[in-house]
């Protein structure tokens, strides 16, 4: 991970997205240069995954916190965005209710639950995209890091967290559409979601957010804070005896990462057109971890690369050989951990990647 790689990645992501968007909008349908709209949405989706991967790498690669529940933050951000998009439908739903989303009419609800208020305002919704995952991470992290829950224990309770949220969001009376989630969105900030221009715009916005997140993450890990964080990752108790409070360092990076994941989720929902509880499933979180592992843990750029490569591979394989996908994903987990522990980026480095030594006296 160095300045050059980050710079290159930022340029590639933003440049690539702008090019795709331009080719989609400014070429004729039959032209060999034409990029079909579904590719625009697909790439937009990958870039959202890349934001999630970046968030995972920030905590795992640099803080040593293996989160098996980051998809929860992603999904919460997504739900906040989904609620805004639902309110935007206003009256154009199947039941034509001016305020209530269709699923509430269907459940025979008479009025909007209190926590749905305000989501018709894009600024409020945007605030919630940041605040909900951030607050959950703050509370969870404060409890976990202060009581020094770490390593595998932390991983398992993050998984339990997302599992509990999965169960909760499946419930109809939670007021988030239950099993079906939120869907049938019409427009975002008054731009129709089905329009090519809106999709191209979302792609460029996503790419910019990803680029910004990458630069932010780089700034964090390259600062003195980042050095302390790496020190905490590899020798937590040593940093304590030096007078640092590892829990505060972990908590900060954990909350930043959760917010990043939440924003990724918020950008994801308008591009795929649906958010439902399955986004909370533990498997999603673990898949995000494998993106990072494939690309190279603790390299930031590797997380972006891994997310795009693995989810691209998934799209191709589930289309071509659906039976094979889980075999391939499972094998990927095993092979990467056994033979490529530093990931793709790590394999190209001269010096071996800084794998954490186990804490003394395991």
């Amino acid at each position: 991970m160095n300045r050059f790689a980050v710079f290159f990645c930022v340029v590639a992501v933003v440049g690539g997205a702008v090019t795709l968007a331009a080719l989609n909008l400014n070429t004729a349908l039959g032209s060999p240069w034409h990029v079909p709209p579904y590719v625009v949405s697909l790439v937009g989706k990958y870039l959202c995954y890349a934001i999630l991967a970046l968030a995972v790498d920030l905590v795992w690669g640099f803080g040593g916190i293996l989160s098996l529940g980051h998809a929860a933050f992603f999904a919460l951000g997504g739900y906040a965005m989904g609620m805004y998009l639902m309110r935007q439908i206003a009256g154009r739903g199947v039941y034509g209710n001016p305020v209530l989303p269709d699923f509430m009419v269907f459940l025979n609800w008479k009025e909007l639950p209190w926590y749905w208020h305000g989501f018709d305002n894009p600024i409020f919704a945007g605030l919630m995209v940041v605040a909900v995952p951030g607050l959950l991470a703050l509370v969870f992290g404060w409890l976990a890091f202060r009581s020094r829950v770490s390593g595998v224990y932390l991983s398992i309770i993050t998984q339990a967290l997302t599992y509990a949220l999965l169960l909760a969001f499946f419930r109809n009376d939670m007021g988030f559409g239950g099993n079906n989630g939120l869907t049938d969105f019409k427009d975002i900030l008054s731009y129709p979601l089905q329009a090519d221009a809106t999709r191209a715009g979302l792609l460029v916005v996503t790419a910019s957010v990803l680029a910004f997140s990458l630069m932010l993450a780089y700034a964090i890990v390259a600062s003195r804070f980042g050095k302390v964080l790496i020190a905490v990752r590899d020798a937590e108790s040593r940093t304590r005896f030096l007078g640092y409070r590892p829990e505060n360092y972990k908590l900060f990076v954990w909350v930043v990462s959760a917010i990043m994941a939440g924003i990724g989720g918020a950008l994801y929902v308008p591009q795929v057109g649906i958010i439902n509880p399955s986004e909370f499933s533990p498997a999603n979180s673990i898949e995000a971890v494998i993106w990072v592992a494939v690309g190279g843990r603790g390299t930031l750029v590797g997380a972006v690369l891994g997310a795009v490569l693995v989810s691209g591979g998934k799209t191709w394989l589930t289309g071509a050989l659906p039976e094979i996908w889980l075999f391939a994903l499972g094998a990927l987990f095993i092979l990467v951990t056994l033979f490529l522990p530093a990931g793709i980026i790590g394999a190209f480095r001269r010096a071996p990647a800084p794998l954490p030594a186990p804490e003394p006296a395991e």
Partner: protein, 526 residues
């Protein structure tokens, strides 16, 4: 209407009604008048006439016909039968016969009469059932029959049901005396089930004294019902706890003792369940006589299958990752995906049917407690598995070596123990126990490739809650979590209850990261 009918019946029996019905109830049946028919049915039922049951039964199926001169015939598949004698009737001219018609009132009289007839059946079960029917119908019309039946009854159990039935009927009868009613309420209070509660709650227009007694009885029944429902919740909790224990016992070895994070643990359980399926299919195809034994046969096989897969996993994957718990977690998760897909490719994605053997079906009722045999079997099985596991660790040579290796690997190696093999066997043991859990879970869960996924988080929670490396802790933790879960369910609903338990557990782990029963010492302090 009911009141009129009661009055009528009473009239029929005690106030010396007009002659024909009493002398010869059969003539009443032939009268063509609905009221007379009803009265005749009641009289016939009480008469003790051996033909009564057959005649009233025929009436119920519209097979009773009236002929000239009050003759009554039953139509059977073999021809006509004289209702009075039960003998075959010759030379009956069908044109002279009219069916005995019934209306609603008659139909009720038939039901009541058949009920009271059954009170005198030779079978105790039928008598008890008849009394129970009266208890439900609370029909005062049955009182006379009940009185005679109680007097004749020798079986104490049946008799008490009859007394309860009489109590129910008397309470519904405005003519009963208060003294009787108070006695009846005591009887019904003693019965104390949901029916008794329903009966007492439906009482109205009763004298003050009776109403008070009824209210007291209701309170008492409700209290005892609460106790029973607590007992029932405890049973369900034990049942859930035993499932958790089975799922977690293997993990207590692989994770608790060895410290290996095996995310494919659930798939070991799943393999055990599929082994059960294969055993059942094989026995069904080749040795149907053994079909009741398929579960006991599947237990050791599941242990071997999952154990062998476990050893293969340890040798092929996990041993390269010792000391790297997070990598182990990821690699075994990958493995779990592969195993799931492999099973899906082999057996299909849909659920497989594993049948429950006869000796595990059904339930026992004990007071207000329903105990299903399959749940009870699983509780016992779980306890046996854990006991066997503890015994194996404590008393066998392998167990001794396992403990030696986990406590001090280098020392054990220095003493000539082949630690890599002990690692493999320990992991195999944990996986094998998971396989046995799969046999039990095939009885209560869908046997599908995803079976194991539902248990992995719960299992880890159980082991962590109980304290890593402590089998007793796992036992206590499994049953505690099971019972807490079942007590939360009625309050919060099943899903919310589960979420609450998860949240409580997350908070608990943060308070006490080493679980309920932490191991202490310098080693864990480091």
């Amino acid at each position: 209407m009911t009141f009129f009918r009661c009055l009528l019946v009473l009239l029929v029996m005690f106030v010396a009604p007009p002659a024909p019905a009493q002398d010869d109830p059969f003539a009443g049946l032939a009268s063509g008048n609905f009221d007379d028919v009803s009265a005749a049915i009641a009289a016939l039922a009480l008469s003790g006439n051996p033909q009564a049951a057959a005649t009233i039964g025929a009436l119920q199926t519209d097979a009773l016909f009236a002929g000239p001169e009050a003759a009554v015939y039953i139509r059977t598949d073999d021809g006509w039968v004289d209702a009075r004698t039960g003998q075959k009737a010759e030379g009956v001219n069908e044109d002279d016969l009219n069916p005995v018609r019934v209306n609603n009132a008659v139909r009720r009289a038939i039901d009541a009469a058949l009920g009271s007839l059954n009170l005198f059946s030779s079978s105790a079960t039928v008598r008890a059932k008849a009394a129970e029917d009266v208890f439900r119908s609370r029909d005062p019309a049955a009182l006379p029959a009940l009185a005679r039946a109680i007097a004749k009854e020798n079986d104490a159990g049946v008799r008490s049901v009859m007394v309860q039935a009489r109590a129910a009927a008397r309470l519904a009868d405005p003519a009963s005396s208060d003294t009787d009613k108070l006695e009846d309420i005591a009887v019904i209070r003693a019965r104390g089930d949901i029916e008794a509660l329903g009966l007492l709650s439906s009482l109205h227009d009763q004298p003050a004294e009776v109403a008070t007694a009824a209210a007291a009885a209701i309170a008492s029944i409700k209290r005892s019902e609460q106790l029973w429902s607590v007992a029932q919740s405890v049973f369900y909790g034990l049942s859930l706890g035993s499932v958790l224990l089975l799922a977690a016992a293997g993990l207590a070895i692989t994770f608790g003792v060895m410290g290996v994070i095996n995310m494919a643990h659930g798939e070991m359980v799943m393999l055990g369940a599929y082994t059960t399926f294969v055993v059942q299919e094989t026995i069904g195809a080749h040795a149907p006589a053994l079909s009741g034994w398929s579960l006991p046969i599947a237990v050791p096989l599941a242990f071997l299958v999952s154990g062998a897969v476990g050893i293969a996993i340890e040798r092929g994957l996990i041993r390269f990752l010792y000391g790297r718990p997070l990598e182990t977690l990821l690699a075994t998760w990958g493995l779990s995906l592969v195993l799931q897909q492999a099973v899906r490719s082999l057996f299909g994605a849909s659920n497989r049917e594993v049948s429950t053997p006869a000796w595990m079906s059904g339930a026992a009722q004990w007071g207000g407690l329903t105990i299903t045999w399959n749940r009870l079997t699983i509780i016992i099985f779980a306890v046996m598995v854990v006991a066997a596991l503890m015994a194996a660790l404590r008393y066998t040579a392998l167990g001794l070596r396992m403990r030696a290796v986990t406590q001090n690997r280098r020392m054990a190696a220095a003493m000539g123990i082949r630690t890599p093999w002990i690692d493999a066997l320990t992991f195999g043991l944990g996986s094998g126990v998971a396989g046995m859990a799969g046999v039990a879970l095939s009885q209560i869960d869908n046997v599908s490739p995803n079976l194991g996924q539902g248990y992995i988080i719960d299992s880890f929670m159980v082991v962590v809650f109980g304290g890593v490396g402590n089998l007793w802790g796992t036992v206590v933790s499994a049953f505690t979590l099971g019972i807490v879960n079942k007590f939360l369910e009625p309050v919060a609903g099943a899903v919310l209850g589960k979420i609450l338990v998860l949240v409580l557990l997350i908070l608990f782990i943060q308070r006490r990261p080493r679980g309920l029963f932490p191991l202490k010492g310098r080693a864990v302090e480091a």
